[in-house]
Amino acid sequence: MNISIEEQISALMDGELSDTETHNLISTLQHDPELKKVWGSYHLIRAAIHNDLPDKLEQDVARNVINALASEPTVLAPRSVALESKLRSLSPAFRQIAGLAVAASVTALAILSVQTLPQDPLSSSVQVASFAPANTGSAIPTEGAYSQAAITPVENVLITTPVAPAFLTENIQTDQHWDLGDPAFEAKLNTYLNNHNHYSVPADMQGVLPHARMVGYGQDQ
């Protein structure tokens, strides 16, 4: 059972699942912390295989952005309501044009997001859904103040789409450091480790491992 779900996750990442399957799997994923980890590690493995890992996996930044996103709708909602009332007050003809513009911009945005992160339909579709109404602003050049206000969330969408869903980042935070919560002592441990690898590990018996450890661990610093 487990194996088949993992295969499904892999298929989802490859875009090989039907809409229904995708939907079902995503809702399963959302409620299963173990599967979330699998999902996360698959992405990590894929990134590693494609040599796509960032220099430093910035767990906190990702989380901060996600947190910021979570609080975003409350800020945006009044704006889009205001915008809609503004739209309503416009002439019917203009409203129609604006409506078309809304539709067009949503389409454009959806394509853009999907292109940005094809392997991550979850986050992109969610972002598009929540931000689409605000995007109308950019379609009404005459409404300077609104377009200004509304463009901001559009940029947010573009910035946040590449950010992994919260559960993907969960298991990235492990193993980056010694997890002592004490940077000074971690630095000391790194020195100890270098000295251990260089001075102590029986040469020859472990091949390139001792020095690979130094280079590999250096990645974390």
């Binding site: 492990t174 000074a184 251990h196 001075y199 102590s200 040469a203 020859d204 450890r213 280079v215 590999g216």
Partner: protein, 341 residues
């Protein structure tokens, strides 16, 4: 006439070399390991390998050349910030762009005869060696050897040695459940095809950059005191490791191999460094005056390396070793100050 004589010598040399490196189906695991150890020092090679620990994967490039001045090796990380380690005979320099990483000088790595005379023979008391079949790694035929520990204080090894020359092309360190805790694997390697001058030149360039004080800084660890112990020396008295400290319990086969004292680059504080080894795995014990602001007690790990920290009689004692956590804990908890019974 003279030229024929030269040809003769050349032919003899070729024969000897051919005999040395030819794949021999009758080799025992023991002989394979000796061959591996020799290959690591005597061959020129250049290749790319991946290193995997926990969920962390790094690709690295390695160049190893031997010339009249000795061995030179350069490792560069192909991903991330481009960390580089340069080894030239006795010196080791760790270059991390924009960061100061200590480099060590003056301590030769243990050479093959020394490491091996201590012995593969003795190792058989603590590990089972099994020759398995031939497999392909990095497009080359390899001999697979399994090394299984006889107790739970050391990790197992799966080794893939180049069938023709013994070079270690793939290695897994595995825990008791047989799950790899650390892995390296060459994906591509070329032998005897390395321009020594180029590598040495590049190493010299790096060293120079370093001296001229570029973004890379260098701090030396001065070895103020150093003692090495041959196996027979330390056996009778293996438990008394320094004037102040003794180790009351060691996993079987582990012995004190070396004792160093040097100044830590960050704190400028002297640290005593004891090296314990069973010939295959090793544990370092670092002892220094404890800093009330900066203590470490408990355990942590990265890949195959486990660390254990404790405070005893005003000293921070830290153990670092590529052994299971049980081993660093056992040894650490058995370290006693002279004032203790």
């Amino acid at each position: 006439m003279r030229s024929w004589k030269n040809y003769g010598i050349f032919a003899a040399l070729c024969l000897t070399t051919a005999q040395l490196w030819a794949g021999d189906p009758s080799l025992t695991a023991h002989e394979w390991l000796q061959k591996m150890s020799r290959a690591a020092h005597e061959l020129d090679y250049e290749g790319t390998f991946v290193y995997l620990r926990d969920k962390h994967m790094v690709a690295m490039q390695i160049t190893h050349v031997v010339d009249e001045r000795g061995e030179h090796e350069r490792l560069i990380s192909l991903s991330g910030p481009g960390h580089e380690v340069v080894l030239s005979n006795n010196s080791m320099t760790s270059l991390l762009p924009g960061q100061s990483v200590p480099s060590a000088n003056g301590k030769p790595r243990k050479s093959f005869p020394e490491a091996l005379s201590e012995g593969v023979g003795q190792l058989e008391n603590y590990y089972n060696f099994t020759l398995l079949g031939k497999q392909r790694v990095a497009g080359r035929l390899t001999q697979r050897i399994n090394v299984k520990p006889k107790d739970s204080y050391r990790y197992g090894y799966r080794l893939w040695l180049d069938d023709s020359n013994g070079l270690l092309l793939k290695a897994d360190m595995v825990n008791e459940q047989g799950v790899p805790v650390e892995q390296v694997m060459f994906t591509e390697i070329s032998l005897n095809d390395v321009s020594a001058a180029e590598v040495v030149g590049s190493i010299a360039k790096h060293t120079k950059q370093e001296d001229s004080g570029s973004s890379v800084e260098k701090a030396e660890i001065a070895l103020s005191e150093k003692q090495e112990f041959a196996p027979e020396d330390s056996q009778p008295d293996r438990k008394r490791v320094s004037d102040e400290w003794r180790i009351t319990e060691l996993p079987e086969g582990f012995r004190l191999a070396e004792r160093n004292k040097y100044i830590m680059p960050e704190s400028r504080m002297p640290v005593e460094h004891l090296v314990l080894t069973d010939g295959l795995a090793s544990v370092s014990v670092f002892i220094e005056k404890s800093d009330p602001q900066d203590k470490f007690t408990g355990t942590s790990h990265r890949g195959a390396v486990n660390v254990y920290g404790m405070i005893s009689h005003g000293h921070q004692i830290t153990l670092v070793g590529e052994v299971p956590v049980a081993a660093v804990q056992l040894i650490g908890q058995s370290i006693k100050h002279q004032s203790e019974p």
